[in-house]
């Protein structure tokens, strides 16, 4: 019996080694998931650095003096809602509903931009008080960790812009669907990293 004669209904009873190659969508999803996990491991190193250095202020401003919990709460809600709307957009992609896809992705993008504007104003406010990365080990670690997350959000927004252009150009082709699926995974993973940021950096400061 060759693989070509195996019907899809039989495949569940076959041993894993005889089932043949997995569908492209499953392989792409798995590969991107591995990338995300390695990205999270990079963040874990930055978190460990921050946790070690968070008290080393070198006589400069400390976390509780600099952090504004109200603004952080607004950033958190922006990112959480954008994660939710990107999920709704993914459902619209499944239904091949172009209008809903565009609408939810544009809402996602607006919330992502709002997050970056809030974060940018926070950084500008800190810099105006002399709290720049070179001031102390604490501030170096802070800007590296929070800045890396911010850069991830920015690159996610650029990716989403490209994907919107691809939907306009190619429609919901399998290739475009797979990329949109990976974008969804990326965006949700960024929100998971942000949970660590607001808990350890902002709420853990005392």
């Amino acid at each position: 019996m060759t693989d070509a004669t195996v019907s899809p209904t039989d495949s569940d009873e076959l041993p894993l080694s005889l089932r043949g190659p997995a569908p492209v969508a499953a392989v792409v999803g798995y590969g991107f998931w591995l990338f995300l996990l390695s990205d999270i491991i990079i963040f874990s190193a930055l978190f460990a650095t921050y946790a070690v250095l968070s008290k080393e202020t070198a006589g400069g401003p400390t976390g509780p003096e600099l952090f504004d919990k109200g603004r952080v709460f607004a950033e958190t809600i922006c990112l959480l809602l954008s994660s939710f709307t990107s999920g709704l957009a993914a459902l619209a992609v499944q239904r091949s509903d172009t209008r809903a896809t565009y609408s939810w992705f544009i809402v996602t993008m607006a919330l992502g931009i709002a997050f970056l504007v809030l974060e940018g104003s926070e950084f500008a406010h800190m810099a105006s008080e002399g709290a720049v990365p070179s001031r102390s080990a604490f501030l170096s670690a802070f800007f590296t960790l929070v800045g890396t997350h911010g850069l991830h959000v920015l690159s996610g927004l650029l990716w989403l812009t490209v994907m919107l252009a691809q939907i306009a150009r190619f429609g919901f082709q399998p290739m475009v669907r797979r990329r949109l699926f990976c974008f969804g995974l990326f965006w949700h993973a960024l929100d998971i990293v942000w949970i660590g940021v607001f808990t350890i950096v902002y709420l853990g400061a005392h």
Binding site: P23, V24, A25, A26, G29, Y30, W33, L34, L37, S38, I40, I41, S44, A45, F47, A48, T49, A51, V52, K69, F73, T76, I77, L80, L81, S83, F84, G87, L88, L91, Q94, R95, S96, T98, F170, G171, F172, Q173, P174, R177, R178, F181, L185, H188, A189, D191, I192, I195, G196, F198, T199, I200, L203, G204
Partner: protein, 123 residues
């Protein structure tokens, strides 16, 4: 133009209706847990030294909510590979974070001058 070409996406095992319900449930749980975290960080109702542990529990719970309801990770048979990779990732993250903290705390302790050295420094 093949705008309606259907290919099974990795999460197409359920109906869109069930998926939408999952996202809504995830949003509600995440909002509750986020609110609880911000409340816990500034309340005086909780024994103060216990607050970091409470925050850690709330954060881990919210990460779990995001993984299950947003990223749709489960221990279902078709997700074994994803799940195993996640478990390994969590293991490495734990090693890096707790290992670094443990080593650096020990180092700080070892670098602390002893009383004898302090007296010598004052001379």
């Amino acid at each position: 133009m093949a705008t309606n070409t259907q290919e099974p996406t990795p999460d197409s095992g359920e109906t869109p209706h069930e998926n939408a319900r999952s996202y809504f449930a995830g949003l509600v749980f995440a909002l509750i847990l986020t609110g609880a975290s911000f409340w816990a960080s500034s309340t005086h109702l909780v024994y103060a030294p216990g607050i970091p542990i409470l925050l850690a529990v709330l954060a881990i719970a919210q990460m779990g909510v995001h993984l299950v309801f947003f990223l749709r990770i489960s221990s279902a048979p078709d997700q074994v590979n994803n799940f195993l990779a996640l478990v390994f990732g969590v293991f490495v993250v734990g090693l890096i974070v707790f290992g670094s903290l443990l080593i650096m705390t020990n180092l700080n302790h070892a670098m602390m001058p002893t009383m004898k050295q302090l007296i010598q420094m004052q001379r």
